[in-house]
């Protein structure tokens, strides 16, 4: 890897049908670097790849390749090649002709083409497969052909769009190692798209974690794993204990009502935060040795360690430890101050505050939803402030919902999923037991009887 920047994305914006799929992406990729774009489906990672490949054009922003702006350069003139998600081999050509496709277009002499193709097929372990038809090959073999077809053109940058997604686990592990070897051997920049965090951590020099069209964090696998910038990254990158907490003052954090010493500072007094504690940092101790006492719910032997789930005050704790306590026993949960990672919440609020207005006697309208509240005692047209607790918003099927919203992110907080949602103009959070697909629309219903309504007097906004 050198320090030369080969690809530079500056303020890239892409919208489909008025929806922003990429929102101001800034990314610099160095020559010979192995970069992985990691994120859940719908996060914009494939779109970013297609921007570089030339199959999607940016609405705003600039793309530089080797210092030259290439926004308007069509795909076939770019010095990058792509390995497509479903291989996209040409079924009417055999293995040799598939791999030779690019070289033939360059009008190279025949014997040169033959040599290059032979050599590349050797590199991907497909020697002797030249005359085979591509649809007679197994998934793994087709994948190798696709890689050879792209690499034989000696691109400066190879784009790989979830290339191992269709392979079974064992084959995937093999191919991961092979790809890493090929990358080192040929010295080509790899930009790799995946939603598999383990794959990303294993293979890359640099991992780019994306969510909802925005980059969350860029760093080495170690950085991403040890110092995630927020709960989303922490949740996505591995199994983790993520809880809601409150930063009482510098070096003091409150988790589930208990106060712990920590090593973080610089937060506001009583600021709600996300707390991450890695399962391998937790020790199992005697119940009297820790303020957190829980009951072991399950133990799974994982070879190197035991994975225990412990229920403590309604929250599940995941513990990876060489010690194990039998299921049903009471244990204490212990960790040191340096094991507590404090991070800003994904949204700067922990409950929802929404303005509404009294439209009729005992009726309030907010976000286009009307609710009846007996004995409200406020006159018509009074502006009001509603406080909606995250757990008073329920996910329901869209046909019986009060409102359809866009699900931006979802993080498991030990007892519920904290979801960040967007109504057409505002961000809200909700707590739910459901698992939903992020980057899709969901229906929600308000438990209106629990909503706190206060008249909005002048100057007391938000």
């Amino acid at each position: 890897m050198s320090d030369k920047i080969i690809i530079d994305l500056k303020n890239i914006v892409v919208s489909y049908d008025g929806e922003r799929v990429l929102d101001r992406i800034n990314l610099s990729i160095r020559d010979k670097e192995f970069v992985t774009l990691l994120g859940p489906s719908g996060c914009g990672k494939t779109t970013t790849l297609r921007i570089i490949g030339g199959f999607v054009s940016a609405d705003e922003g600039e793309i530089y390749f080797d210092g030259k702006k290439i926004n308007d350069l069509p795909a076939h003139k770019r010095k990058v090649n792509t390995v497509f998600q479903r291989y996209a081999l040409f079924p009417h050509l055999n293995v040799f002709d598939n791999v030779a496709f690019g070289l033939k277009l360059q009008k190279l002499p025949k014997n040169e083409i033959q040599q290059a193709v032979r050599k590349m097929l050797e590199i991907v372990n497909l020697k002797g497969f030249e005359r085979r038809k591509v649809n007679q090959l197994s998934g793994g073999q087709q994948q190798r052909v696709a890689i050879a077809r792209a690499l034989v053109n000696r691109p400066k940058v190879l784009l790989l769009d979830e290339p191992l997604g269709a392979l079974d686990l064992k084959l995937r592990k093999e191919m991961q190692l092979e790809l890493m070897n090929i990358q080192k051997q040929l010295g080509i920049t790899f930009i790799y798209v995946t939603h598999d965090q383990e794959e990303a951590l294993t293979m890359s020099d640099t991992v780019v974690v994306m969510k909802d069209g925005e980059i969350q964090q860029i760093g080495s696998p170690q950085d991403i794993y040890n110092e995630p910038t927020n709960a989303f990254v922490a949740d996505f990158i591995g199994e983790n204990n993520i809880f809601d907490g409150v930063m009482l003052e510098d070096y003091k954090v409150q988790i589930h009502g208990h106060v712990f010493d920590c090593v973080d500072k610089g937060f506001m007094k009583n600021q709600p935060v996300d707390v991450v504690i890695r399962p391998e940092d937790i020790r199992i101790v005697k119940p009297e040795e820790s303020p957190l006492v829980g009951v072991v719910e399950s133990v799974i032997f994982k070879g190197v360690h035991y994975e225990s789930t412990v229920k403590c005050e309604g929250f599940s704790w995941l513990i990876h430890s060489t010690q194990c306590a039998p299921v049903g026993s009471k244990i204490g949960i212990a960790f040191g101050p340096e094991d507590i990672h404090i991070m800003n919440k994904l949204v700067p609020f922990s409950t929802n505050r929404v303005e509404g207005v009294v439209t009729e006697e005992n009726t309030v309208e907010f976000l286009g939803v009307t609710m009846v509240r007996p004995n409200l005692g406020l006159s018509v047209d009074t502006p009001v402030m509603l406080t909606i607790d995250p757990k008073d918003i329920e996910i329901v099927s869209e046909d019986i919902s009060d409102l359809t919203v866009y699900l931006e992110s979802m993080v498991w907080k030990g007892a519920y999923n904290e979801m960040v949602i967007w109504t057409h103009d505002r961000q809200m959070i909700l707590h739910s037991q459901n698992d939903e697909q992020v980057a899709t629309d969901i229906g929600i219903k308000f438990h209106t009887e629990n909503i706190l309504i206060e008249p909005l007097s002048q100057g007391k906004e938000a």
């Binding site: 490949g53 030339g54 199959f55 069509p74 795909a75 076939h76 990058v80 090649n81 792509t82 497509f84 998600q85 479903r86 996209a88 081999l89 040409f90 079924p91 009417h92 496709f101 690019g102 277009l105 360059q106 005359r131 085979r132 038809k133 007679q136 077809r149 792209a150 053109n153």
Partner: protein, 270 residues
Amino acid sequence: MKKVASRAYVWLIYLFLYLPILVLIVFSFNDSKSTAKFTGFTLHWYTDLFRDRDLLMAMLHTLEIALLASIIATVLGTAAAIGIRSMGKAGRSVMMNLTYLPVVNPEIVTGVSLMLLFVFLGGLLGFQQGFGTVLIAHVTFCTPYVILNVLPKLRQMDISQYEAAQDLGCSPGKAFFKAVIPQILPGITSGALMAFTFSLDDFMITYFTNGAGFETLPTMIFSMVRRRVSPKINALSTLIFVIVLLMLILINIKDIRREKRERKQEKRAV
């Protein structure tokens, strides 16, 4: 016993299918003009046929129209299919229905409406019905068949293959010919063949759009039969049947050969 019965049943069906053609062939060699009695063998009707300039002219027209119409319909239909494929869901279903309509619409309605259009436009722009109008009419009813044959092939194709070709250095146009066409070619050829055969034997629509003086074989035969059944027609029909039969055999032989060749290649590869 059961086997004999089932075999007899099959033969009976084939007899039923092919007897009329057999009778036609036999009577094309009949010495007399009678359609009831076979009086002796002759090639007289065949020589007569090739002396009939009008009939030969009609044959030429038929081939010209069929060839041109199928080529134009193939180009238009393929382009349309690609357009429909890349449309959104709503647009696609509208276009598909518009495509099916001419196929299910009774030919006579298509024929009459085309005639009305040509008469109206002819009066407006000053042209006569003839070769041009027949060609346009044939292209009109042939194009949907091409679309319907090409679309499934496009649907089977992975769109990223087109992108892959561009990725490897093809301009968009070249990528189309190198990656898309080879894969939808079976659909294009079957669509073209269908268009060709439908155009070849179309009577109804031609009848309404040919005006005076421009005859294709079907309209010609129709007007001849209306006057008096001539054994010349038998001879002509026999010839057409034999040509079609030969074409069918040829295509089959080609298929068998290709299969053999592919099997050999596979063996060598393994």
